[in-house]
């Protein structure tokens, strides 16, 4: 037991928020602290392939605001968040932009596009 890696995860599938203790010895995954099956499934998914939506902002010219909110269209692997953020940083685009418009295709090779969260009208030349 002592050699196993134990990870603590907070279950986010319902407001109860069980604290899950997950031990992973490569062969099988053991979950403790879950009060239902959903928690078990969540813990296994979180250990095998945790995914997230990443939202941030990029610089935009000629618009009402200097920042445009953007996000990944689909979930991306959690370990790629840093890569996505590094790719976003320093990107500048020009208004007008439409909501849902693709800003960066297949960002950081995640398979997901980076899209604009809102319209941004052109207000300056």
């Amino acid at each position: 037991m002592s050699k196993q890696k134990k990870t603590s995860i907070l279950c986010i599938r319902c407001p109860k928020g069980c604290e899950l203790k997950v031990s992973n010895n490569k062969k099988d995954i053991k979950v403790e602290g879950n009060e239902c099956r959903i928690g078990l499934e969540y813990a296994i998914e979180e250990i095998k392939n945790p995914v997230r939506i990443v939202a941030s902002t990029i610089s935009i010219l000629n618009s009402n605001y200097p920042r445009l909110p953007v996000r990944t269209k689909d979930t991306i692997p959690k370990n790629k968040i840093k890569k996505v953020i590094e790719t976003i940083r320093g990107v500048t685009i020009k208004a007008p932009i439409k909501q849902g418009q693709i800003i960066i295709k297949n960002i950081a090779n995640t398979g997901s596009d980076l899209i604009a969260e809102r319209d941004m009208e052109r207000v300056k030349n």
Binding site: I9, L10, C11, I12, C14, P15, K16, G17, R52, I53, V54, A55, S56, T57, S59, N64, Y65, P66, R67, P69, R71, K78, I81, I85, R89, Q99, E117, R118, D119
Partner: protein, 417 residues
């Protein structure tokens, strides 16, 4: 003259205006900012709309679902307009507002207030020391960062373990601030579990429970804070003070319904919610004046706030069509044991089923939730798998079981072991 004017162009206000337009009324909406969307403009993270649209949208995406409908309608939209005063007389109500075209007077038969909430600030919680620059509320930081790209500093201390504080911590981290430290007086974070995981644990953001800021240090700009540990009653423990350097302090210490404007026109304010006293249609104690969204009480999900807009739209319709087939009298609904606040506070017997929202005062599994009359008789038992103060709960009460009472109260009791 308008049938109804909505004051406030946030998600609840816009949803209400659209719904009233669809019902065939002549509607106006007044917004103080240059665009509609309210708080959601700055909430760029995902997770909005899971109840209403069954998908996780960002704030601007959620807002645009309703704004697009409003843009296609003939609702009169007044942007950059500030409501100076309101005359809520029974027949014709008059709103005086300051617009880019000058002072305007708008006549209307009814009004829906949707002006949301405000953040508590350093003057409302006990923080000692000086008042230098660099002390900001979390909402202000969110706006500065997400719309203007202005960061508050490089060494940030966040006070408060609720949702807003956690979300701001993540944004700051993703914008390149590595030195973030959160403190809060409770034993554990008070926000939603998903935010604890996805905002704090995912990025290893440092935090210290049972700690508050005792003093702010700095003459012109903030230089440091003096932290102190607290016991379970939030009393500082002498000798545990520690000074930590920082260049900004972000306060995420709660939201309060912005009910001052309603108080001005004579609406009764509830001391539990800090919002107006409303009936099941979200009508205030002022005839024909309704209140919705975070102005009524603080909602965890925008979906729930928008739900109040839909219910109030039915109420406005009822009011405008002068239908009065309600039963005589009204019922006071009061928060009882372990209920921090609830709405509606008053039931006017309009609807067969009343949707109530309440905030539990305790954390416990399978609590007994009881509706009790003045004589102590249990009228109905409800069950929930789990309650905690950070999650606003919703119940549907059939009018039938309470219609002969004049006062009922809601209680949450921990299950006996």
């Amino acid at each position: 003259m308008k049938d109804v004017v909505v004051i406030g162009g946030g998600p609840s206000g816009v949803a209400c205006a659209v719904t009233l337009f669809d019902k065939g009324f002549d509607v106006g909406i007044i917004e103080i900012n240059e665009e509609l969307g309210g708080l959601l403009d700055q909430c760029i993270h995902d997770g909005f709309g899971t109840k209403l649209f069954n998908e996780g949208l960002s704030g601007p995406e959620f807002a645009s679902r309703f704004i697009e409908k409003l843009d296609k309608s003939t609702v009169e939209i007044m942007l950059n307009s500030f409501v100076k005063s309101v005359n809520p007389s029974d027949k014709t109500k008059e709103i005086t507002c300051i617009t880019p075209q000058g002072v305007k007077k708008v006549q209307t038969k009814s009004i829906v207030y949707a002006i949301g909430c405000r953040e508590r600030n350093e003057y409302e919680i006990l923080i000692g020391g000086s008042r230098p620059t660099g002390v900001l509320t979390a909402g202000a930081v969110q706006r500065l960062v997400n719309l203007y790209g202005i960061l508050p500093g490089k060494n940030v201390i966040i006070v408060g373990g609720g949702d807003v504080g956690m979300i701001v911590a993540r944004h700051l981290f993703l914008e390149g601030i590595n030195n973030i430290f959160m403190v809060y007086p409770e034993e554990f974070f008070t926000g939603l579990p998903r935010n604890i995981q996805q905002c704090i644990l995912d990025f290893d953001i440092k935090f210290q429970p049972q700690t508050i800021v005792k003093n702010i240090i700095g003459s012109e700009h903030i230089e440091a804070v003096e932290l102190v540990k607290v016991d379970e009653n939030w009393n500082p423990i002498n000798g545990t003070e520690k000074t930590v350097k920082c260049d900004s302090l972000i306060l995420s210490v709660g939201l309060i319904p912005y009910s001052d404007k309603l108080e001005e026109i004579g609406a009764k304010i509830d001391s539990y919610t800090n919002g107006p006293v409303v009936n099941e249609y979200f009508e205030t104690t002022v005839n024909g004046v309704f209140a919705i969204g975070n102005l009524v009480q603080i909602f965890d999900y925008v979906d729930d706030a928008v739900e109040t807009a839909f219910i109030a739209a039915d109420g406005v319709e009822q009011f405008l069509k002068n239908k009065t087939h309600k039963k005589d009298g009204f019922i006071n609904l009061k928060p009882g044991e372990n209920v921090n606040c609830l709405t509606p506070q008053r039931i006017d017997k309009f609807l067969d089923e009343i949707s109530i929202f309440f905030r539990p005062g305790i954390t416990c599994k399978t609590p007994k939730i009881l509706l009790i009359n003045k004589e102590g008789k249990i009228l109905k038992k409800f069950s929930k798998p789990f309650v905690r103060p950070s999650t606003l709960e919703n119940l549907k009460i059939p009018l039938k079981i309470i219609e002969n009472e004049d006062e009922v109260s809601l209680h949450v009791k921990a299950k006996e072991d």
